[in-house]
């Protein structure tokens, strides 16, 4: 094959540079967050930073394998990948390891493996494959249902683990479907539902109903274009009313106590800073005490004292905030933003629909991880355990994101061969 002769042809080096920068900075912060009192070799496998170093080295052969494979394989084998992913998720119910009530890990010796990380990529591949069929039209209910099904199956299995955080990540693919022609009311009603959910917890549902009623009446009066069918208005109004009143029921009877706590912490309701509010409070203290330029690398008092729990995984960004201050935080955040926009730019310039949809999926996944992870640290979002891509400690997470990104880089590099 011609591509294997000149593997670096067409590769987007900007994306790779961003990847290297983020992984490098990630390791530096993990080093700071897990530094023991006595320094050891940075390759010491007994230490978290030593293992992360190993994971980073091991991602090099993974990258090379992906780049040397034929780009067509990802499209052709997307069914297979998806199938394996689903089997792995099912296998968890038999062989999985239960940590803190969640069965989402396979354990091999000292190393864990979280299949849902890889299922994200598999799902993206299959979704891209399905949407790339020329006859697919997302205005048709049948096609919508199949697309939802592709996303829904792993979501269902992951929810049963139960791991609501990971499941939520999949839902972000609705942005991809919207890009590919899904009617906009799906997105609008989805966002409306989320907003109404929090509003209903914060204020008396009656006021929301009154407000919504007034909006409906206003819309009805101003609506001159479409048929002004009063029944549609009445139906929408009833659905919203039912939804708003069910929120309290869902909150009290469906949500798990820890999920309730996380919502309480966000809306600042009965928070005990020693219990459910501890993580968020410590995280805010660590970031907030960083100031403009931070306390200096390896000088973070909160980081050294171990006040922030899970600091090397989901809370790794608190170390950035504390030690590098606003300046460092802004650099990291802007690097991420550049990466996302670069991927979207590349995706929009793909010649095949498969590559474009897949690129979109990658950008969406990375962005939603990034946003949810950082937003939860600074009280903009309920606490949901998702890792910060390339930063958070962990082999499966790093490799999964690496594979996800480099498949796209490979597809992008291959576009010169597509005519």
């Amino acid at each position: 094959m011609s591509s294997s002769k000149n593997v670096n042809r067409g590769i987007d080096w900007l994306t790779i540079l961003l990847y290297i920068l983020l992984v490098g900075m990630g390791w530096m912060t993990i080093y700071s967050a897990s530094l023991p009192l006595e320094e050891t070799s940075i390759f010491d496998l007994n230490q978290i930073y030593g293992r992360q170093m190993l994971f980073i080295f091991l991602s090099i052969p993974i990258i090379l394998i992906i780049l040397f494979l034929d780009a067509k394989i990802f499209e052709r084998l997307s069914f297979v990948f998806y199938g394996i992913g689903i089997l792995l998720l099912l296998g968890l119910f038999v062989f999985g390891k239960t940590i803190k009530g969640q069965t989402n890990w396979y354990s091999f010796g000292g190393f864990g493996f979280q299949p849902s990380e890889f299922v994200k990529t598999a799902t993206a591949l299959l979704l891209a494959k399905y949407l790339s069929y020329p006859q697919i039209n997302l205005n048709l209910t049948k096609h919508q249902l199949i697309a939802f099904g592709i996303i829904g199956l792993p979501v269902l299995l992951i929810l049963m683990q139960p791991d609501a955080g990971s499941a939520m990540i999949f839902l972000s693919l609705i942005f991809v479907l919207y890009r590919e022609g899904l009617p906009s009311w799906y997105l609008i009603s989805g966002i409306t539902a989320i907003v109404l959910f929090f509003l209903a917890l914060l204020i008396n549902p009656l006021y929301i109903i009154i407000g919504f009623f007034l909006l409906t009446v206003l819309h009805f009066i101003n609506n001159k274009k479409i048929s002004r069918n009063p029944f549609i208005y009445a139906f929408i109004f009833l659905v919203v009313t039912g939804f708003v009143y069910s929120v309290n029921y869902v909150y009290n009877n469906v949500l798990e106590p820890h999920q309730k706590d996380r919502i309480d912490v966000l809306i600042g309701d009965n928070v005990d800073l020693k219990k459910e509010g501890y993580n968020l409070n410590q995280s805010m203290i660590a970031i907030g005490s960083g100031g403009l330029t931070g306390k200096g690398y390896l000088e973070g008092t909160q980081t050294k004292g171990g006040f922030v729990p899970e600091q090397h995984t989901d809370y790794i960004f608190t170390t950035v905030g504390e030690e590098w201050g606003f300046a460092g935080s802004a650099v990291v955040i802007l690097l991420f933003m550049t990466l996302f926009l670069r991927i979207i730019y590349l995706a929009e310039h793909q010649k095949t629909k498969f590559s474009r949809v897949y690129g979109y999926c990658v950008a969406t996944y990375l962005f939603i991880h990034f946003f949810v992870n950082i937003a939860m640290l600074i009280k903009l979002f309920p606490t949901i355990g998702v890792p910060l891509p390339f930063f958070s400690y962990g082999g499966s997470s790093l490799w999964a994101f690496t594979i996800m990104l480099f498949i796209f880089i490979k597809l992008d590099a291959n576009k010169v061969n597509e005519w």
Binding site: M284, S289, F307, G325
Partner: protein
């Protein structure tokens, strides 16, 4: 359009994150502080407070160790409450109350749980301290008083209040600070500087090393010792003389302005305000609103000076050349100045010398009349007079090195313009000023300073109580001479009159001390009290001022005894004894000494208390004056105008 949704969302979300992080890190400061409380522990090393010595090197105030049990509420774990209560001999209710209070102050910062245990009380707790997580001991130094007097001078130290800890970052909850007297005035000298060690700790509160290799750590600096100008023996003697009396004694060395004794009565043993009984004792002293043991009468009480003020009237008369030594005025059991001012001198024709030693009201009334009528513009006359008076340090803060003081009052044209609505001042309106009874108010220390000035023949040094601070000079303002507006030559005749007060015919002839020439002046000041809209006349105050010896004076003194009948009844003997004690070191008039040491004026104070609480009022002696003083003044004024 659809392809712009995700990029738009990404940019907006990024901006949102940056904005919130910017707010947390740069705008909102609260997290920096929390982070310090979280991770950095400060360990303090309290230096010993400076000692206090008297002018002869006698140790007055030292230190004793004391132990505060401190608590950090957040760190309390599995406490055996019952055992703790038993060890510290408190009840469970106390325990809950104290913990609640500490939590309210701060769950993270240490609060004092039980203050100021002594060594013995602490020993029991010390053995088991490790069992009570969240509790620890902070060693501090408490005062150890070597003497039972001088409470008004020393003041006391106590735990800082919350307002101070907020206003001054040097102090933390539980720290001790000077609250009154020298402890307050010289707080920074006496306390030294505490040392701080910054330690880094982890979430289990375990110390994991020093913060930034001890870059910010400081070592403590010892507090500096003070040497006072006070003569301990004289102070003690005066305190004993004042038992069962109320008032103040101030003795000053004229040649330096050094305060030899500063006595306020009633007083208390300074040891009462040390240790765990402090707050109970302080409350009792504080709420004694009639005897007011915490009120330093020597520095604060503004009384009408009475007859000692005639010294100034005479001096000003000479300086203004409205009289000379031989000017003669006549007294007929008083004299008419538009209204009649009575006099008990018993003489008929008086000159300066016998005017002083007989304390003749008529003589000084006439002198004052001439002073006030000297210039055609009465305001000018009054201000000329007031400026002379003020040059003796009256009517203003003296500027001593005690944290408190009172201005007293010297009326001038500004005041009288207000009172008489701009009308020219007639000497008859204000004739009482001549004999120290009008609007004039002075404190005992001002009177003593006036006498020191007379003793110096026309100058004084600002009175001060600290003679020496270890390796530091005292403030320059205490070594600067303040000249009066009276020429030196006018002092001699007045001083001769003061010396004759102790000679046959003088108002203090009975107090004569052999082979010691004392110059003194008796005084008696009327006073009244208003209770419930009725004014009651009270027993007169007894006043005496003196200096000695006449030539090369060593001591100037003012004694003020509340409700002490008349000058030579209480104040005169006490002043004389003090002078003799200081100069001769022993007392020749044992009978007088015994009478003063054992004498009591508590009966009169009881009457005052009865009036205040409106019980058993003896209507004969304390007849209510029908009209208020204000009305009296108005009527007098009308009478004057009819003349």
């Amino acid at each position: 359009m659809r392809k712009y949704l995700l990029p738009g969302l990404i940019i907006m979300a990024t901006l949102l994150l940056l904005a919130k992080i910017f707010y947390l890190q740069v705008i909102d400061d609260s997290f920096k502080l929390q982070s310090e409380n979280n991770a950095i522990k400060k360990e303090f090393d309290f230096p010993e407070r400076g000692y206090i010595y008297d002018r002869n090197g006698k140790l007055l105030v030292a230190n004793q160790p004391s132990y505060d049990i401190m608590v950090i509420p957040r760190e309390m774990k599995n406490i055996d409450t019952l055992e703790l209560c038993k060890l510290l001999s408190i009840t469970k209710e106390d325990f809950i109350k104290k913990i609640t209070k500490a939590k309210k102050y701060s769950p993270r910062l240490p609060s004092v749980f039980i203050p100021q245990l002594n060594k013995r009380e602490y020993a029991g707790f010390q053995e088991k301290e490790r069992k009570f997580e969240g509790f620890y001991t902070q060693k501090r130094a408490l005062r150890d008083y070597q003497v039972h007097y001088g409470a008004n001078i020393f003041g006391f130290i106590a735990q800082v209040n919350e307002a101070t800890t907020k206003a001054n970052p040097y102090y933390n909850s539980g720290d001790l600070i000077g609250k009154q007297g020298l402890e307050k005035e010289y707080e920074e000298v006496l306390r030294g500087v505490k040392g701080v060690k910054y330690l880094l700790r982890d979430k289990h509160n375990k110390i994991i090393g020093s913060y930034k290799e001890g870059k910010f750590d400081t070592i403590s600096q010892q507090g500096k010792d003070l040497t006072l100008t006070i003569d301990a023996d004289l102070q003690e003697y005066g305190t004993k003389l004042m038992v069962n009396k109320r008032g103040g004694i101030v003795a000053i060395e004229p040649s330096s302005g050094e305060i030899l004794a500063l006595i306020s009565a009633p007083t208390y043993d300074p040891a009462l305000l040390v240790g765990r009984q402090r707050s109970k004792n302080y409350t009792a002293l504080y709420y004694d609103s009639i005897a007011k043991p915490l009120y330093d009468r020597a520095l604060l009480a503004s009384y009408p000076p009475g007859s000692p003020f005639k010294i100034l009237t005479g001096l000003i008369g000479l300086q203004e050349q409205v009289i000379d030594e031989h000017t003669t005025f006549y007294c007929n059991h008083g004299a008419n100045f538009g209204r009649f001012m009575a006099c008990h001198c018993g003489y008929h024709a008086l000159q300066l010398n016998n005017g002083i030693y007989r304390s003749c009201n008529s003589y000084f009334g006439n002198t004052y009349k001439r002073i006030i009528e000297k210039y055609p513009n009465s305001f000018e006359s009054v201000d000329t007079w007031a400026n002379h008076v003020k040059s003796f340090g009256l009517g203003q803060f003296l500027g001593t090195d005690m944290p408190i003081g009172a201005k007293g009052l010297v009326p001038d044209s500004k005041l009288y313009k207000k009172v008489y609505k701009g009308a020219p001042i007639r000497s008859s309106y204000i004739i009482s000023n001549a004999i120290g009874q009008g609007e004039i108010l002075t404190t005992p220390i001002q009177l003593a300073n006036m006498m020191a000035t007379v003793a110096n023949r026309g100058y004084f040094y600002t009175p001060h109580i600290v003679k020496k601070i270890k390796d530091r000079e005292i403030d320059k303002k205490f070594t600067t001479k303040h000249l009066t507006s009276i020429d030196k030559k006018y002092f001699e005749p007045v001083i001769q009159g003061l010396a004759d007060v102790y000679n046959p015919g003088g108002t203090a002839a009975a107090l004569h001390v052999d082979s010691l020439q004392i110059c003194g002046k008796t005084g008696t000041a009327e006073n009244k009290i208003r209770v419930g809209g009725v004014t009651y006349k009270l027993q007169d105050h007894s006043i005496f001022v003196a200096f000695a010896p006449k030539d090369n004076p060593k001591i100037a003194i003012a004694v003020f005894i509340e409700n002490g009948y008349w000058g030579s009844r209480w104040a005169g003997p006490i002043a004389t004894l003090m002078v003799e004690k200081y100069i001769k070191g022993k007392i020749t008039r044992k009978d007088l000494e015994d009478r003063m040491l054992n004498g009591s004026i508590q009966d009169e104070y009881q009457k005052l208390e009865d009036i205040i609480y409106r019980r058993n009022i003896d209507t004969k002696r304390n007849e209510p004056i029908a009209n208020t003083t204000d009305n009296n003044n108005k009527e007098t004024k009308k009478e004057e105008e009819n003349h």
